[in-house]
Subunit: 199 residues, 2 copies
């Protein structure tokens, strides 16, 4: 079984995306404020190290449909192929969770979006693809929650950003139990990074 | 104006107390799990340092009524005088927020519980008492939220405990804006401590 990790930026009030996600606001209203620590240039050296970690090589990704794009329900004749242009930063198979069938989308640079109808299927296929490289549960909140519920997550990295969003998507709602141990932490003015080992 | 600080232990899902607070469960169900880091003996050296910080000398405290005790509504003939025995760990005036009048209660060791009907009154009286020593907003969630709303908090220390409580009391609900900067962090297996300067 490959190592399964997830890396999420989260507000003080526990939101990993703002409300009202749309094509204009892929991260929901004000959700972008959670990501200045790795989008700014130049970066604080602590944020640089955690950006490097965020962008590390993976064998496969699992992603919720809402993270893939703003289309809801049937795909219809949508030619949506993600937020990331012609060469997404994944360079590996990305399993997108959706109940609506969709043909695979092959992008430049080795990213292939493949569409599966359950987290279990995504995990099984990602495991087959990943070999000895890690699998990353890329988000959003629901995908990470499903990973925690499935008990498959080995590591969760939280970047705690000192803002209050007020509403949006939370990871830890409706979870019966999580046992985690913080094993590393570092802070910049923009984010406090905590590496949890999930046990 | 004295330095105003608050130090709160908080779960991964943002709760500083569990649900159903009562005389048997002063911190709500499972709320005690947020406090093992400073109640355990011996402690991890990081937790030892933050316990020392938590118990540092203050000139005055502000406390919500639910933190003071389980009595609700009129005090009646209750002789409740806090959870902390005859010599509470405060050794200073403690202003308890309540709409119901109550005579001051003088305890051993310099703690005096005084009862006031608004956060503003508590802050004004605490300021007069504290001199050049800090004021501590001891909790619970509502008292800290009122301090953030009043814009009087200079520092907030969060001990992020890697448990999920599922329900209880949250600090950051219904806040319009908080601007904070993490200035220090350290972790033990039981808690990740973050010191925020509130700006």
């Amino acid at each position: 079984m490959p190592f399964v990790t997830s890396h999420m930026s989260i507000s003080l009030d526990g939101f990993v995306a703002g409300p009202d996600q749309s094509e204009d606001n892929p991260l929901g209203i004000d959700g972008i404020t959670l990501h200045h620590w790795h989008l700014n240039d130049p970066k604080h050296q602590v944020d640089e190290a955690f950006t490097h970690r965020l962008l590390g090589t993976r064998g496969a990704y699992i992603m919720g449909r809402n993270m893939f794009g703003p289309v809801r329900g049937e795909w219809g004749d949508s030619d949506w192929h993600g937020w990331w242009g012609s060469e997404p930063p994944y360079h590996a198979p990305v399993f997108v969770l959706t109940h609506y069938p969709h043909d695979p989308i092959e992008m430049e640079g080795g990213t292939i979006f493949r569409f599966v109808d359950s987290f279990d299927t995504a995990l099984a296929e990602a495991t087959r693809e990943a070999g000895d490289r890690p699998i990353d549960v890329a988000g959003g909140a629901s995908a990470v929650r499903q990973a925690l519920q499935a008990g498959c997550l080995d590591e969760l990295v939280l970047d705690i950003v000192p803002v209050v969003l007020g509403s949006g998507e939370r990871i830890f709602d409706d979870l019966l139990e999580v046992t985690a141990e913080p094993v590393e932490t570092a802070t910049s003015p923009l984010a406090t990074h905590i590496v949890y080992r999930i046990t």
